[in-house]
Subunit: 299 residues, 2 copies
């Protein structure tokens, strides 16, 4: 068997991101059906993901993407507004084009040739219940004159629970350890450093893993790793949700959730590289800002 | 009469910012008393500003301010959570120290000597009623090896009203025209360009004025101008509030307000120079982010 061409690698990565999207959406819709109560959202109908396709350059905003003739691609947003998941987005996108002068100096392999190709899946879930943790997961493959993967997953509870935190980290550790014993400690630390709000002196949540510039020398191996990270999230997050979704919550807990969501919005708008990258490379504004929480409070 | 020393100029500017703060707070508290109805907030007690002093470096966050031995200063937040004004902040601060290497190259007159002194007043009001426009006003004096004023005022209605917009612009035009016929057209255009969300392709509100690096050659003249801008806001904004505060609003209008506030948060966290300047120079996080809206929605 010959090594896959760059194009085949891109196609395989994109196809996997879509497959993971399908599996995640199905798992979350099952949870919407499974809710019993006793909270005020329980008598709403189960939520379903709605898909909206976008093409690059179709939205009204000018993101400084300076889309030239060869810029293109697009994506599909899948958004749920349900009774367990107040707002959840599972977005896939594949875009290509040329980096602006400002950007090419900051992206590996783009100084020599400004062309890029990027494909990814991005998941952000804001549950109704303040007892159910919010979650984020993202994986992307980027190709310039180099090729690499980046991504991560992190959990943001309003009220951290040691068992939830343990199960979440255990699942990610399992995905990491199957590939390289050095991954988990390194990527966990990277996550703690990355998902941190310096102006608040506090972490975004209870961590997880974060990695970038992953190019071990074997694309097959790296691709297998990011697939396992996706599967780990698919396995663990539904369990955490089901553990808490039928517990009653109070108005005070709900209020604490809205305040915590404010911190989440601060992180994404002030610090998140993916948000800045997306907005500056002509990504779709609605898709990028889908990560922002539904109802939020800065009291 | 001899020209005032730099220190006297700083003291006079700071004293004026505090005087404007006192006058604005008094005017807004009078409005809290004057509310009649018929909205759900009308039966709450009239709100009052609460003051909290802070010293630089006292908050938990590490803002990258890298405060050296000579860094210092502080400020006073005045915050109201009332029945007309859901959340309003009128903050004054006077800080000094040394810019970081990153910053000094971007600030006029700081390349030669990294020391700075800055004093200002900042006003952001988020009303309860979606029919009452939100407003922002800010003036600051900054001294490095140079000295200048910056500031501005802009109005953010949920449902723009031609009479409100006209009155607001007229008041600012009056303040400008009393000093230089070129100011208003120039500063209005600057405002339109500055308070714009490129990723949304939409302005933050209906504009006003924005200016920076104001150093005409006469500090007295520039100081008189920024005072007139403050007085213009003090005169016009209460009229706009009183015009609408007793009008009934609907749930749909309230929802539109929460969505509009999301845009406001996006602007402040993604684009606002004052926010970035403050967070990066060791300003007080709570005071800086006081501008963020109380209840906000990204549906």
């Amino acid at each position: 068997m010959t090594a896959p061409s760059e194009e085949d690698r891109g196609k395989r990565a994109s196809a996997w991101f879509q497959e993971l999207r399908d599996d995640l959406c199905a798992a979350l819709e099952e949870i919407e059906d499974a809710l019993i109560g006793p909270n005020t959202t329980s008598d709403r109908p189960p939520g379903r993901f709605e898909r909206t396709a976008w093409r690059r350059g179709d939205d009204g905003g000018d993101n400084g993407g300076d889309a030239g003739g060869d810029d293109g691609g697009g994506g599909v947003m899948s958004v749920i507004r349900g009774r367990v998941f107040e707002k959840g987005g599972v977005n896939v996108s594949t875009v290509f084009g040329e980096f602006s002068e400002e950007f090419r100096l900051r992206v590996p392999g783009a100084a020599e040739d400004s062309r890029f190709w990027a494909s990814g899946v991005s998941v952000v879930i804001h549950p109704c219940s303040p007892l159910v943790p919010a979650v984020h997961m993202n994986t992307r493959m980027i190709a310039t004159t180099r090729e690499w993967f980046g991504g991560g997953a992190d959990l943001t509870p309003v009220f951290p629970d040691a068992l939830d935190t343990g199960a979440f980290h255990e699942a990610l550790k399992g995905a990491c350890d199957a590939h390289d014993a050095a991954y988990y400690p390194r990527f966990k630390k990277w996550c703690d450093e990355y998902f941190f709000l310096p102006h608040r002196g506090e972490p975004r949540g209870v961590g997880g893993i974060f990695f970038d510039d992953l190019a071990s020398g074997s694309w097959e191996r790296d691709f297998a790793f990011v697939q396992d990270v996706g599967r780990a999230l698919l396995e663990v997050y539904p369990r955490l949700v089901r553990r808490h979704m039928d517990q009653a919550w109070t108005e005070d807990q709900r209020r604490a959730q809205l305040v915590k969501r404010g911190r989440y919005a601060e992180f994404n708008l002030l610090h998140d590289r993916g948000t800045v990258f997306g907005l500056k490379t002509g990504g779709n504004t609605e898709a990028i800002l889908m990560s922002l929480p539904p109802l939020t409070m800065w009291p």
